[in-house]
Symmetry: C2
Subunit: 275 residues, 2 copies
């Protein structure tokens, strides 16, 4: 180094992340970095509604927009994607998924380090149909909270209470958990300041539609998968969002590692929906 | 400039492309450029099968993988995307779409400059149901070719011949145009060396499945659209491609302009499918 060049991009140097080179391409200047989102602090100092958590959605998708392969999200991303997922979880107070995602496969909502503080695991269900014991891999240190529509019968609620904490949330007009009120309750009652949502697409869609998402972290895996609508999922499942209700997306950063792109978008409320 | 820094990225200088700044982020070094794919030469000097055209697919998608909005692709991309589409068409001998794409909306498969040489417009149809006169905007200089399955009744063929040239291709086992043989015929009989395919997702899927695509140019518009499977399209429509048949994707370049990402992927035949 002669001291007058910025750290150059792509000189072929191998850096610490499991031997793979990670490039931060945007914002400029592009440079090699040792990991993705390592310097991330959430929530940002200025953020909108202090009464609700700062919500980030983290997903992995193929180039053709599929977020599942043979019905599962597992196997879509690389080990760098999984490490990035854990980095994001480590910045959050809670990790939330929809019950359908848990029904689809066995998964963990925690960090790898069993000695660290584990984020609260939250599973949203409208029916109470959750294979908690069979599919949720959780250490004893991790608290598990079922977020339940208040239309679920009391008997189901009682059965779920044997395995996890239960928070009831009012149902909205469609009979499903009112996500806006539920998020506010999570902040007020459980102190959830930063929430990571990891799908599925129905939960993502509900949150986007209600302007409840602050950021989207999307890993684009270099794959073309195909698949009929019945077989595969995409990032959002639900009716087309009318133009007036769509959030504005701003690209915050781009990382690239081993052909996989890591896109970070900031979402702002559609102008027509602003308070 | 002190003479020892590489061209810096993102200094806020406004460059010629309609007043918008275009960054080439990858491959390094990242830098501001005056346009996207302007220095592109197709086909590359070394490419696989000399008996078939060099095939590139060019599509625009939202962040959630939708390639249509209210049933149409129009309106998905920005004017930079449309300019990029024209740049790619200008490098091709022919521009191909599926008949469904033409049924969905009125469109042109040509360049803006009416004085330039227009690429051959090719519409693939299995049924002969094409609203050619109502939906295809073409100058007199542009030749139009209907690529037709040989199972289409002769009367339909004759009717289409009134408006365009017709090339019959054998049907494959599923009764649709055998794309592999059709592409070889386009090269041999029509001299199509470089072919741009612009969807729809059924045609894309058929080509990908048969390992006929050399490159994918994907514009990712900063939008979240949602939409049920019946309402919206994605890049590929068709059954999940088995792992053994998936092409390997290599990221060739990334451009960014006004929040829109321009990804260029090179596809190579799945190892198991290699000759």
């Amino acid at each position: 180094m002669d001291g007058c060049q910025p750290t150059p991009l792509g000189l072929g140097e191998v850096l610490p992340l499991q031997g793979l080179k990670v490039l931060r391409l945007y914002p400029p200047p592009g440079r090699e970095v040792s990991g993705i989102y390592e310097d991330l602090t959430l929530p940002p100092s200025r953020h909108g509604d202090a009464a609700k958590p700062y919500v980030i959605v983290n997903m992995v998708s193929s180039v053709d927009g599929r977020t599942s392969m043979e019905g599962k999200a597992a196997g879509m991303g690389s080990r760098i994607d999984r490490q990035t997922m854990r980095t994001l979880r480590s910045r959050a107070d809670a990790v939330m998924i929809g019950a359908g995602t848990l029904r689809a496969e066995k998964l963990s909502l925690g960090l790898d380090e069993t000695d660290g503080l584990q984020p609260l695991a939250i599973i949203v269900t409208h029916t109470g149909n959750i294979p908690l014991q069979d599919h949720l891999v959780a250490t004893e240190e991790q608290e598990v909270l079922i977020l339940l529509s208040d239309r679920v019968p009391q008997a189901v609620t009682e059965r779920l209470r044997e395995f996890a904490q239960v928070m009831k949330a009012p149902a909205d007009s469609a009979g499903v958990v009112d996500l806006d009120r539920a998020l506010r309750a999570l902040k007020a009652e459980r102190g959830v300041d930063v929430l990571v949502v990891e799908g599925g697409p129905g939960l993502n869609h509900g949150l986007i539609l209600r302007n409840l998402v602050d950021e989207l972290y999307l890993t684009v895996a270099p794959e073309l998968l195909g698949g009929t609508a019945a077989e595969t999922l995409t990032l959002l499942r639900g009716p087309e969002i009318p133009a007036s209700g769509r959030p504005a997306l701003e690209l915050v950063s781009i990382h690239l590692a081993d052909g996989e792109l890591f896109l970070r978008y900031s979402l702002t409320r559609a102008p027509e929906n602003s308070a």
